[in-house]
């Protein structure tokens, strides 16, 4: 599969590294505007209550307060993520549904004044019963959190592919298990922040720390009533997102309204506690699975039920509940699959999408059960997995097409890379080894709103001088490295060194890009970038061919030099022209070959500014059933991991000592960035497996809404991670590339679970695997 590339596949330093490491990179907090006002939100202290009255008079009377907005002051427009589930109002109309629900916003001359004003707003509440668990919310007499959603069911999915009952009848082994996980927080380092400015030209500019400038632009336009052309969203550098930043926030909207109202720039920022309150991170999942297999290990059928504790609003939840089912269609051959999923409203902050959207805990339970099946059948877990593994070209029972699938290579790589054969079954007490697989979409096949829109558009402009090119993209660099990726793809496509490429990104003025979510940017924006690069190159070569009087097919660009095949051609007139234009300059071209610089300059002289465009939307993808739009993707990334753990039997503490991680990303664009995604995925998966849990008190208030009490892994908790990059060459990806951002997290939790089971014999059914939880389970096992 290996192709020779000049730029792609290298470990080129990231374009943003110098600015980020020297502190020059600008995040929202670094960008200030004259005359800024500070905004602040009033959020509900009650998890569920009627609002009887809101009195803002004292707040308005406070010197320094410029505006106070409540539901009365803004259009009554519902918004959300999925148009079928728009269920949020910017400010509570007559009811609050979780501690943190937004009631009012204030703009004042400075933040202390704004916060003081928020305290002065008087709200009369009538408390309602608080529903904090799925059980409470689905009890017969439970009040409905939203009138429109009977019995607090936000979404319900029933799917069957094949004939599950018939398949079970042919099975030699039926394995059943359950799993219960906790709500996570995204724990990105930069809390959400924004600044909105209303210009005299009628254009609202919103600078926001977001993953999705385009969706924010749409939501702000829809809710404020401004046209799309009157809303510009600009995303400067962003300190991480992981999913929770993949939709417009109440501060995006409130700052916009306040800017419109006051005519002054308005800045709003979440504190860390407010990040927890806004949430939109991983749901708490409960899964039950029944898996049927033949004696020889052939997997026959899966019957799967899932319940998601959704919090007070839908957010991404409808997609989450579908993903929780659909992503078990692969990577194993599984001819029969039935899924019943439901997402339940509770009086807690809304959950949404987080790395590995919807699929992580389903994958954890499934892979744990596979290990048990292997053991019961007397097979090595790796053997069982290889036996059932799909190959390139296979299509899952729910119509996901594996256009490339290096899963077997990944498994072989982690098997040999970890020394599986020497370790499995031969480890000293307390040590365990376990493995798991997983896969993920490489970009959602459809936008969040129903549309035939391109998912991304690209504009590449050559410098009039010919010295380089600039890629204009509305895509979102959020720390994952997409700017560097696009620069590398453009450099490769045009045939010039990376240093000659600049990228301007994250601005809705640059075009359409659906944003950084569903692991879509490398494949989708990469496609559009490649297309624009190819087009630009063709423009340059066409002009040059005309000038030289030869066929354009004889010309190519490589490493910034013009390659001419089929015999020598005299280009001295072009060079002489260029040199004359640059009399007195130090860097006249002297190479044997004509340079890109000279050719691009010529093209400008002949046709004006060179602008080439590219675009991408996925081809029509398989699946006609209800919900087929969630899970279909032009490509799937996949990975296998082996985790090695040490379990302290006396304390229950688990230390993950080593992870051997292989991921098939089709083709690494930047090898270092691919490994960074793999490392980051291990870290996030490890946190969810061992530490992370957002906890509530009986009134629905979060009791650990800080990074001191909500534990994400530190560098000291990171195992030694050995990354192995597998490149299967994805036919639907630019230069063969597909995702690595989320697929890489799928095996982490189950690999740890399986390693812990290997060390202890325990089948643990609840994360996080805190020392106490493991200790109690060990105690119970000893007693039994």
């Amino acid at each position: 599969m290996s192709r020779q590339f000049d730029v792609i596949g290298s470990r080129a330093p990231r374009k943003d590294a110098p600015n980020k490491s020297t502190g020059k990179a600008q995040y929202i907090e670094d960008i200030t505007f004259p005359g800024e006002l500070a905004g602040a939100l009033l959020q509900s202290p009650h998890a569920h209550a009627k609002i009887l009255d809101i009195d803002t008079s004292k707040a308005l009377a406070l010197p320094g307060v410029v505006a106070v907005l409540t539901a009365k002051d803004v259009p009554e427009v519902k918004y959300g993520v999925s148009p079928a589930r728009y269920d949020e109002n910017l400010f509570a109309m007559d009811r609050v549904r979780y501690v943190g629900d937004e009631i009012a916003a204030v703009a004042a001359v400075d933040l202390p004044t704004a916060l003081k004003a928020v305290e002065l707003i008087q709200v009369e509440y009538e408390p309602l019963p608080v529903l904090l668990t799925v059980e409470e919310a689905t009890a017969n007499d439970a009040p409905w959190i939203h009138e429109e959603y009977p019995d607090n069911i936000c979404a319900q999915v029933e799917q069957e592919f094949g004939d599950v009952e018939a398949a079970f009848a042919q099975c030699d082994l039926i394995q059943e298990g359950s799993f219960f996980s906790k709500r996570q927080d995204g724990a990105f380092i930069e809390p959400n922040q924004c600044v909105a400015l209303m210009g005299h030209d009628g254009v609202l500019t919103l600078h926001s720390s977001t993953q999705v400038p385009h969706y924010v632009q749409r939501t702000v336009a829809m809710v404020t009533g401004l046209g799309m052309s009157q809303v510009r969203v600009v995303k400067p550098y962003v300190g991480g997102g992981f999913g929770p930043k993949a939709s417009a926030t109440p501060i995006d909207l409130a700052a916009s309204f306040l800017a419109i109202r006051t005519g002054r720039p308005v800045r709003m920022a979440y504190t860390r506690e407010q990040v927890f309150l806004f949430s939109r991170a991983r749901h708490g999942f409960t899964h039950h699975m029944k898996i049927g297999a033949k004696k020889d290990g052939t997997l026959m059928a899966l019957d799967h039920q899932a319940t998601l504790d959704g919090g007070a609003y839908s957010s991404f939840g409808i997609a989450t509940v579908y993903y929780a089912g659909s992503l078990l269609g692969g990577p194993y051959k599984l001819p029969n699959m039935r899924y019943a999923g439901r997402r339940v409203f509770t009086n807690k902050p809304a959950c949404g999408a987080q790395r590995g959207h919807g699929g992580v805990i389903a994958r954890a339970l499934f892979e744990q059960q596979l290990d048990i099946i292997a053991e019961k059948l007397g097979m090595d877990p790796i053997e069982l997995r290889l036996k059932n593994m799909m190959e390139t070209g296979d299509v899952t029972c729910n119509d996901l097409a594996m256009s490339s699938l290096g899963m077997k290579e990944c498994i072989e790589a982690v098997k040999s890379g970890s020394g599986w054969g020497e370790k499995k079954g031969k480890l000293p007490p307390g040590k365990g080894i376990g493995m798991a697989c997983g896969f993920f979409v490489s970009g959602a096949g459809y936008p969040i709103y129903r549309s035939e829109t391109y998912h991304c558009t690209i504009m590449i402009k050559a410098d009039e001088d010919g010295g380089g090119i600039t890629v204009y993209t509305a895509s979102a660099e959020i720390g994952q490295g997409s700017d560097t990726t696009m620069a590398m793809i453009a450099a490769e496509a045009v045939g010039i060194p990376l240093e000659q490429v600049r990228v301007k990104s994250g601005d809705t003025d640059f075009g359409i890009d659906l944003g950084a979510y569903s692991s879509r940017t490398t494949l989708m924006t990469g496609h559009a970038t490649k297309e624009a690069g190819d087009n630009l190159k063709a423009m340059v070569l066409e002009t040059l061919a005309g000038e030289l009087g030869i066929q354009a097919a004889r010309l190519d660009i490589k490493n910034g030099l013009i390659k001419i095949s089929g015999g020598p051609v005299d280009f001295s007139a072009i060079r002489t022209g260029y040199i004359k234009e640059h009399r007195g300059w130090q860097d006249q071209p002297q190479s044997q070959e004509l340079t890109f610089r000279e050719a691009a300059r010529l093209a400008y002289l002949r046709r004006g500014t060179l602008v080439a465009t590219g675009k991408y939307k996925p081809p029509v993808l398989g699946g006609k059933y209800k919900g087929a739009t969630v899970g279909t993707s032009p490509a799937y990334g996949c990975s296998a991991q082996v985790a090695e753990v040490n379990v302290d039997f006396e304390t229950g503490q688990i230390i993950v000592e080593r992870v051997t991680d292989a991921h098939d990303c089709g083709q690494a664009v930047n090898l270092t960035s691919v490994e960074a995604q793999m490392q980051g995925s291990v870290s996030m998966g490890l946190g969810e497996a061992l530490f992370e849990e957002v906890k509530f008190d009986a009134q629905g208030r979060i009791i650990n809404a800080s990074l001191g009490e909500y534990h994400i892994p530190t560098v000291m908790d990171m195992p030694e991670v050995r990354c192995i990059v597998v490149e299967s060459g994805e036919p639907n990806g630019p230069f063969g590339a597909k995702e690595v951002g989320e697929g890489a997290i799928m095996p982490t939790i189950p690999a740890i679970l399986n390693a812990v089971r290997n060390a202890t014999g325990l089948v643990l059914e609840e994360t996080p695997l805190t020392p106490e939880r493991v200790y109690q389970a060990l105690k119970k096992q000893k007693g039994a």
């Binding site: 504190t271 860390r272 061992l690 009791i703 534990h711 530190t714 560098v715 805190t770």
Partner: protein
Amino acid sequence: MLLPPFEYYRPSNLEQALALLREMGDQAHPLAGGTDLLVNLKLKKLAPKALLDLGGLEELKGSRADGGQVSLGALNSASRLASGGPHVPRLLAMGAGALGSPQVRNRATLGGNLVTARPAADLCLPLLALGARAVLTGPQGSREVSLDGYFQGPGYTVKEPGEILTRVLLEAPKPGQGGGYQKLGLRQALEIALVNVAAHLELEPDGKTIAMARVALGAVAPVPMLAPSAAQVLQGAKADEKSFTAAAQAAAADAKPIDDHRGSAAYRRDMARTLTLRALRQALAQAQGGKEVGA
């Protein structure tokens, strides 16, 4: 989160500092590393009128040995203690090394840890086990207070508002002594212990009999506490697994844990036993000058 407004003073000697404190009463809070104080100000748990930066007080700095006694200044940072400079007992260095993260250790001070007096404080436990005394200096002069009895409740000690904790006094280390420190948390750094234990052993010249021992327990009571029954079991006993196991049992019985969202009382009690046993083994290895036993 914003810091509330406050006046800021930076006295250049102890006398000035005490005068300012007397003038303002409990309206002024001493500021050392700020890793507790500034957090509490932001969380609006405190709203003092003034902060009194101790950073200029030479009287609170450095470490020295006078006769059989070591004196550590209250402004010693956890990172300095962790690197085990001159006169710093190894047990204290172990606790200091387990505190927070490198950034926090660079700011956090000995005095701040003792005055904040959290039940799981990583410097308090070693100091309790070492039998340390705090020097509290007020308008009337200085008094020495044994740490056993110094802690009154979470965040609450015998120190009067007008007093500054200036130094900590310890017996100079002698041969035949060893310390063990065990901290259990969810993660390996930036962690307030679920349970932590510091153990100090002094062996008779025979190298086998325990002359004296102290076991300090963290996060199992409202304050860092000594386990008196464990000390009793160990005193005069042979330094072996049998007496260590009995002492660990006794320590667990001395513990007064409660249930909270971070852990149950039952688990904490069990861990007090396990960690005491481990800390004692570690202390013995150190006392015998042998290889240290890890966790």
